[in-house]
């Protein structure tokens, strides 16, 4: 057995949630969108990151991220999750330009009485964005670290290369789940649960091997966790798909070189990006809302079509249905697990095969320690 680095409090304490939110979600590069969500001029997407409402907006092909908070009376500027409209606050029609600068307040500006200097200084709070292939990241820090400090060159290269083949059509949903976001991430790092919890729902052509993992640096009490490089927190796995069915639509889309493989990339801190059989992408984002609440975003996209594909909608929907059948089993289990944290009278135990979970915990603690230093 190995001793976990987290205790029950790390998954249920409101105070730890705030500490973690500041150290991870307000400091690191966070995946917030894919480019197809923001394909056209004035397309926008809204979400809440670390308690802050954020809007990503395409303006003439440039994607920027702002606090979705009007500088006037702090109303929400874009109110739907996805849409296409300019940055105009619906409350009093304050209008912001492509760079978030206040453009005008009213057809009769005198009712606000702003001097030109005052007006020039009014702009939406902007966050730095980074685009890798089809993936859109933001960093909420005032001094964002370089992207390369979080994701190494091989990871960035793989993400750029693979997701550049992502089709512009996608299916999306989100679940509000009653469990801590780390429970969700640890679940996807746990290969054994697939053959147990999902024995009826997971396709049997996925050959997920489970064995005692390689020793984790985090097991060595002499290792200073703070100095574990951040880039090591992102991990990749590859599972062979034995005798996976060749589906008719596979011939209609581009096939990546990982055909016949299920490749999963756990982007630290909160993303599970899967490339399935070289022909589709599934992305899960575990967005923390509270210590015991996570917004799990799920999207599926195929690789780009190379031939006419009029029934693409069916493939996307059926893909999502089969993914959600598995995910629902996870959600039911993990929500019960989270409830048990409130009443359990013992601590968590981990088996030797769960070193990847330990690595994840160490990475979280390392970032909390670095943020505090």
């Amino acid at each position: 057995m190995i001793r976990p680095l987290f205790n029950v409090g790390h998954y249920s304490s409101a105070q730890w949630f705030e500490t973690e939110s500041d150290a991870l979600f307000k400091r690191l590069w966070i995946l917030v969108a894919i480019k197809p969500m923001l394909a056209k001029h004035l397309d926008y997407r809204t979400l809440t990151i670390a308690g802050v409402p954020v809007v990503l907006q395409n303006n003439s092909g440039v994607i920027r991220a702002f606090a979705n908070i009007c500088r006037h009376r702090m109303a929400q500027i874009q109110t739907a999750e996805f849409g296409n409209r300019p940055l105009v606050c619906p409350y009093h029609h304050w209008c912001y330009d492509a760079e978030g600068k206040l453009q005008h307040t009213h057809k009769d500006p005198s009712i606000f009485g702003l001097s030109p200097e005052e007006k020039d200084n009014i702009r939406l709070h902007e966050y730095k964005t980074a685009i890798v292939g089809s993936l859109v990241f933001i960093n909420m820090s005032d001094q964002p670290m370089p992207l390369e400090q979080q994701f190494d060159e091989d990871t960035l290269s793989l993400l750029a290369s693979a997701t550049s083949h992502m089709d512009s059509s996608f299916v999306y949903t989100k679940y509000n789940c009653a469990f801590n976001w780390k429970i969700g991430m640890e679940n996807i790092k746990d290969g054994l649960h697939v053959q147990c919890l999902h024995k009826a729902s997971f396709p049997d052509y996925f050959d997920i091997a489970v064995s005692a993992g390689a020793a984790s640096p985090a097991q060595d009490s002499t290792v200073d966790l703070q100095h574990i490089p951040l880039t090591q927190a992102t991990t990749m796995g590859d599972t062979v798909m034995h005798n996976a069915p060749d589906l008719e639509w596979h011939t209609l889309v581009e096939q990546l070189d990982c055909k016949g493989h299920y490749r999963s990339i756990h982007l630290f801190p909160n993303v599970n990006l899967m490339i399935v059989d070289g022909t589709s992408f599934a992305i899960q984002i575990y967005n923390p809302l509270a210590a015991n609440q996570t917004e799990m975003q799920m999207l599926v996209a195929l690789t780009k079509p190379k031939d006419p594909f009029p029934h693409k909608a069916v493939v996307l929907w059926e893909h999502l249905l089969s993914d959600m059948a598995v995910l629902q089993e996870d959600i039911d289990c993990l929500e019960a697990l989270q409830r048990n944290f409130e009443v359990a009278q013992h601590e968590i135990m981990h088996g030797d095969y769960e070193t990847s979970i330990l690595d994840f915990q160490a990475a979280c603690l390392a970032q909390v320690a670095q943020a505090a230093s």
Binding site: F82, F170, V171, T173, W317
Partner: protein, 214 residues
């Protein structure tokens, strides 16, 4: 009576046959289904497609495709296209107990079940089925290859894009536009037009949106 072959031996075939028998417009020559699990309908021969093509002439016999809403209506559409491309004339079937306003045109492979009401000015696409007790309002539009289950109400001036599916009891408010492929899999009322294709399904806690690049 016009001779008719029905392609598809399933529970939907039963409903179609029920209405055809009452109305004496078509004489059903048989049911065609290549599936090994297909079973014959009482009193009707079951043919494979090869047998049907050998025995019947598309110049003399019409066809009708009886398949459900599986795979967002694409199973039915695929078979409909295949039979049409093979040169068969495709019938439209409406129950004599449906109440269809004058001037409403029924296109190929549409099925209008008993107690369906279609008001004046409504427009239905080909290969769309409206099941028992549903209503299509005045000036409403139903795209091609849609499936409207029993006891739905599509309000005046509402518009459903192609390949939409409504479960039993869905109400689409007047003037609402549902984008193509939208699928409402639970009884509910839709009062505003979604900006993108929408799936509302009890297996999901939140709406599913489909963003199709056209």
């Amino acid at each position: 009576m016009k001779p008719l072959l029905i392609f598809g031996a399933n529970r939907h075939t039963e409903r179609v046959l029920h209405e055809i028998k009452r109305d004496a417009v078509y004489e059903v020559m048989g049911v065609v289904d290549d599936s090994p699990q297909a079973t014959a309908m009482p009193g009707l021969p079951l043919y494979t497609r090869a047998q049907a093509l050998a025995q019947f002439s598309s110049a003399e016999v019409m066809a009708f495709i009886a398949e459900g809403e599986d795979f967002l209506n694409q199973t039915r559409l695929g078979l409909y296209m295949a039979i049409k491309q093979a040169g068969w004339a495709i019938a439209a079937i409406a129950s004599s107990r449906a109440d269809i306003a004058d001037g409403v045109r029924l296109r190929e492979n549409s099925f209008i079940d008993s107690d369906v009401r279609i008001l004046r000015g409504a427009n239905l696409g080909a290969n769309s089925w409206i099941m028992r007790g549903s209503e299509l309002g005045a000036g409403a539009k139903l795209g091609s290859s849609c499936w409207v289950s029993a006891n739905c109400s599509i309000g005046d001036g509402a518009s459903l894009g192609k390949n939409c599916t409504l479960a039993s009891g869905v109400v689409i408010a007047p003037g609402v536009t549902l984008p193509a492929w939208s699928t409402i899999n639970q009884a509910m009322t839709i009062t505003s037009s979604p900006s993108t294709t929408l799936f509302l399904d009890p297996r999901f806690r939140a709406p599913v949106t489909l963003h199709l690049d056209h």
